[in-house]
Amino acid sequence: MNLEIITDTTITSSAIYKDGTLFLANEEHLPFAQYCRKAYQLMEASYPKFFKMDNLCKLSFLTAELLLTENIGGALNGEKTAIILGNRSSSIISDQKHYESYVERENSFPSPAVFVYTLPNIMLGELCIRHQITGESSCFMMEDMDAAFLFHYVQDLLLNEGYEHCITGWVDFSPTEYGAELYLIGKRDKGEVKRPFGINFNQKV
């Protein structure tokens, strides 16, 4: 049994790539709010809940949306698919927003719609809902993307725990920067593995 990268998607503040091919360049250096709206429209995603999400969830949503295009996402068995992500900054953007809503006691109106996003694994929950994934969803906090850890974890899910597919990678949104890279990993019984899934899977060839 061989494990392979079926497809990958990267979003940085300057561009969006699908399998190394440019999908959208942020030539005007748009702030995230406009840039993500542009990407959303270009992906023709029709998902009103997107606009309720915080920036971390919007970023992971768009990355997964491009990763799981119709022909790929439709082929997943939700029960046999897991999502295992790395992240550094947790939900700091929403944390700060929630903090500001209660820190002045005389004007304290905490918002449940903000508070619900003050956990990093909510982005995994959103992806599970969107793509009907009901396997394990785990969020690991790391200072930078620990590909070796993710590799061992995901390999075990696929080889020993009966999973067929796994979405793995990195999504992070801090007050100063953001970026995401997601990989769809699958198994191959026969035929040539074009992109083997290995311990350095996030290194661009």
């Binding site: 905490p110 990093p120 929950g125 690991f140």
Partner: protein, 383 residues
């Protein structure tokens, strides 16, 4: 490969060791009380909070002023477990840390300035704790909302099973903060009386705080505390894919997590002698669990929720409640579900109202569910 828990430590408002905590639980003592503390909330509320001054004096060690209160608790708890276990090969040991909000109090910049580095970041906080013990490997940090503690145990089990390590220190901690309190208040999820899991009069959660540590290893010969000795028989996790905060009406995710745990342990539902439920005492969570356990045909299995003793300790809950699960198996006593008097979910469940002597316990199941739709289950076997 068989993996065992061989030591434990737990610091909560009920005591500064797992033994002290368990002794209090057997006496039906709860850590929940009326709290009047303006730094947390202008109104009085119910919570399971540390007597901060007492605990601060407890978690004192050389150089402790460089660490936040939560970091000191982690260090204190891990240190106690390491002292119990004795000499271990750190090269073959990993620290797995579970938390939801970590040092969230450092959103206050004045407080943040007192500590070196960006300690509000969870992996930075974990590195600081890891470095204190001169652990050579990167710590693994799990943040899966309320199920984080069970996720951490299952991650540690996996890392040992894969042969990457022989031992894992599994620690979980969260504090009762204004951040979390105001958030759950905005969700109208906080009970105005001590929480009453599975009871007809339940009105929501009571928040708590705790820090707890387990020590998993592939070498049962190292057993340090017989009260904590158990085999990790199986585990599973699954997502509801239904709503980011509301429990699923069908309990499907929890059902799948428990089924995976049973499958991994090669057990049938009827083999389980005891369930430590999540039992937060919100209307919908407890109802969801009842639906799930009935689907699994586990409605007759003795069950309790420990939230009536500890409150909801968030990222610590899975570890706190696993420690108490194991101690119940080993002592042959099941605890009454504190706050439960009259059955309040629509499906039958065997909720224990009183402590029960049960000398022949073998398998205990700990279940847990959280925001983001995640569910976890882990099965322990008395070793």
């Amino acid at each position: 490969m068989e993996i065992f828990n061989i030591a434990d430590h737990l610091i909560s408002p009920l005591g500064c060791s797992a033994g002290q905590n368990f002794a209090m639980l057997k006496k039906s003592r709860t850590g929940i009380s009326k709290i009047t503390d303006d730094s947390l909330c202008p109104q009085t509320f119910y919570g399971a909070g540390y007597e901060t001054h007492t605990v601060e004096q407890q978690v004192v060690f050389e150089g402790c002023e460089k660490y936040t209160f939560l970091e000191r608790l982690f260090i204190y708890s891990i240190d106690a477990v390491l002292k119990a276990v004795g000499d271990i090969d750190k090269q073959r040991t990993v620290l797995v840390l579970s938390t939801t909000k970590g040092n969230i109090g450092l959103l206050n910049e004045r407080k943040a300035k007192k500590y070196e580095g960006n300690r509000i970041e969870l992996p930075v906080m974990a590195r600081v704790v890891n470095d204190y013990f001169e652990m050579p490997h990167r710590p693994v940090v799990v943040s899966n909302a309320c199920i984080s503690g069970v996720s951490a145990i299952l991650t540690a089990q996996k890392l040992i099973r894969l042969g990457l390590y022989d031992h894992a220190i599994v620690t979980g901690g969260d504090l009762l903060t204004e951040f979390v309190l105001t958030g759950f208040q905005s969700f109208m999820a906080i009970s105005d009386a001590p929480c009453r899991p599975y009871d007809v009069a339940r009105k929501g959660i009571t928040l708590g705080e705790a820090c707890a540590t387990m020590f998993l290893t592939n070498n049962p010969g190292l057993v340090a505390k017989t009260e904590a000795f158990a085999r990790v028989a199986g585990g599973g996790q699954a997502n509801d894919a239904n709503h980011i905060s509301g429990p699923s009406r069908t309990g499907r995710g929890l059902r799948m997590a428990v089924s995976k745990a049973l499958e991994g342990a090669k057990l049938q539902p009827g083999d389980i002698d005891y369930i430590s439920g999540h039992g937060t005492a919100t209307l919908y969570n407890d109802e969801m669990e009842a639906v799930a356990f009935n689907h699994l045909n586990m409605q007759d299995t003795p069950l309790n929720s420990l939230k009536g003793y500890f409150g909801h300790t968030l990222g610590a809950a899975g570890i706190v409640e696993s420690i108490i699960t194991i101690r119940q198996l080993n002592e042959g006593v099941l605890l009454g579900s504190h706050g439960y008097a009259e059955h309040g979910v629509t499906q039958p469940l065997n909720v224990l109202a009183e402590n029960q002597e049960s000398p022949n316990l073998r398998y205990g199941l700990k279940t847990i569910s959280g925001f983001g739709g995640c569910n976890g289950a882990v099965i322990f076997e008395k070793a």
